[in-house]
């Protein structure tokens, strides 16, 4: 393994959230509370509440550990509402008894009542298309095409079994740290598409390849929704932010080739700790310590 690959593996290791971490304990406790609330509010309904998103895909990172909880009703279940729109807003109303709820396109973001602190949980209401409990319809709030057909299991498998989950996680970290506006869903599909022939490559090569292709592409590269390749057009998600992605890719490649991946992702926590210890030791050798002051 090259030094670059080892460093990038170490970056990933620092981003892993152990199941006994405070963040994960808090998420589990909140998930249980959400389940209890929905059980109570929709006691007559048959529904499934399960993990979706990055938790299920294996792409959860410490710097963006949102938990998707999908709330899918049986195909002929009308207890939570007749239409997808009714379901979306009825679930929102039910959750508002215990949470500050922000409506996103297909999800309901939960914040703590009063403090509005982010609980890192999205509840995604939907309804299965048939008794197979496989494909599902989601309501799309504020979007012209208000019904989206999708398949959670297909999405999860597409990412989880892609063979490039580590690269997807690092690119997700890059997206978070660079404040990129592209949707994570489209970003990871693009990464998987570009790494189809690079599964055996090292992490540094994989990252460089993805960024190189993006940097050199004048227009957005085509991606498909694995759960609905012909029905869902994802290209607007990439086209809207392509210029930003290209600039970022050129910039990051330039930094990485000049100063290495450390200059992109920064020092590891262990390295930071060692440097802080060294700085503190040096500070103890200052003979006339002075305290900084500001005129204010």
């Amino acid at each position: 393994m090259s030094d670059d690959d080892k460093y990038l593996k170490d970056v990933l290791a620092e981003q892993k959230l152990a199941s006994d971490s405070d963040e994960m304990k808090a998420l589990r406790a909140e998930r249980d509370a959400v389940k209890e609330l929905l059980d109570e509010k929709f006691s007559d309904c048959e529904f499934t509440l399960r993990y979706g998103g990055s938790k299920a895909k294996g792409t959860l990172i410490r710097e963006m550990y949102d938990l998707d909880l999908v709330f899918y009703l049986r195909s002929d279940e009308n207890g939570a509402g007749q239409t997808l729109e009714d379901i979306f807003f009825n679930v929102a109303k039910a959750l508002r008894e215990s949470y500050d709820v922000r409506e996103k396109t297909s999800a309901l973001r939960l914040r703590a009542l009063g403090t509005a602190s982010d609980l890192h949980i999205d509840v995604v209401p939907g309804r299965f298309t048939n008794h197979d409990r496989s494909d599902c319809y989601l309501y799309q709030n504020g979007v012209e095409k208000c019904r989206l057909k999708t398949n959670l299991d297909t999405h999860i498998a597409h990412v989880r079994d892609s063979g490039v989950v580590d690269a997807v996680c690092l690119l997700k970290l890059l997206r978070v740290r660079r404040g990129l506006s592209v949707k994570q869903f489209a970003w990871e599909l693009l990464a998987i598409e570009l790494l189809k022939g690079k599964k055996k490559a090292g992490l540094a090569d994989q990252l460089d390849h993805v960024l190189k292709v993006i940097a050199e592409a004048d227009t957005a590269i085509a991606i498909e929704d694995p759960a609905n390749p012909t029905g869902n057009d994802l290209m607007p998600l990439l086209t809207a932010s392509w210029s930003e992605l290209r600039t970022m890719a050129q910039n990051v490649r330039s930094i990485a080739s000049g100063d290495g991946w450390r200059a992109v992702f920064g020092e590891l926590q262990a390295e930071k700790a060692a440097r802080a210890a060294r700085l503190k030791s040096a500070a103890s050798s200052v003979r006339t310590p002075m305290r900084p002051w500001d005129k204010g």
């Binding site: 503190k280 040096a282 500070a283 200052v286 002051w293 500001d294």
Partner: protein, 211 residues
């Protein structure tokens, strides 16, 4: 006010010698009306360079009675009072230099004042506290410095001391500012006279006027 480097060429020579001998990445720049030091300041631990900051050091007309002013020029440190870097780098309350300057050469200004300050900045970047603590902003920070110099805990006592320092003469029969009930001559008189002699109050007033 004359040019200190013309009046005291040995002081300028000391600065040059210090840089050549110990801080080769800094150099003296002579302008017609000022002396500056510019370059890359190495934050040293023994012979190892732990960090570097691009700096400009300017000497006031009252140097060496008043300390040099320092700017971090690369924009690495946010311009913020919380980072003690509003305009210049605020290494310490300026009158502390005035009191200690008999012990502080330009070398110790670099080795201790600037090194300590930039070590603190590097630690702050890593999310740690200032290694020696920090002064409160504004007048309160000045009073903290005065309290330290007079070895009193109470800022009200420091405020009383500052009022005494502003007087043209200090009288030994005054009640001591520390609140002990003793006469000044039997209590903190000697320390206060030393500060008075060093022009502490005038330095403090100058600093306030500049802000």
């Amino acid at each position: 006010m004359g040019n200190w480097w013309l009046d005291q060429p040995e002081t300028l020579e000391d600065i040059r010698r210090t840089l050549v001998g110990h801080y080769a990445s800094l150099s003296v720049v002579e302008e017609s009306d000022s002396i500056e030091v510019r370059g890359s300041f190495p934050v040293l631990d023994g012979d190892d360079v732990l960090d570097r900051y691009d700096v400009l050091i300017r000497f006031p007309p009252t140097y060496p009675d008043d300390p040099p002013e320092v700017w971090e020029t690369a924009g690495r440190i946010p311009r913020s009072a919380d980072r003690h870097n509003s305009e210049t780098a605020c290494l310490f309350v300026p009158f502390e230099w005035r009191i200690r300057r008999r012990d502080l050469t330009f070398r110790t200004f670099l080795d201790d004042g600037m090194r300590g300050y930039f070590l603190g900045q590097s630690l702050t970047e890593l999310g740690h506290d200032w290694p020696y603590g920090e002064r409160a902003h504004g007048t309160e920070g000045m009073l903290q410095a005065l309290a330290d110099l007079l070895a009193v805990d109470d800022l009200e006592a420091a405020r009383g001391a500052m009022l005494m320092l502003l007087k043209p003469v200090i009288k030994g029969h005054w009640d001591c500012f520390c609140g002990s009930g003793a006469r000044l001559r039997k209590c903190h008189g000697q320390k206060l006279r030393a500060l008075h002699h060093a022009g502490t109050a005038q330095s403090a007033m100058r600093t306030r006027r500049q802000s």
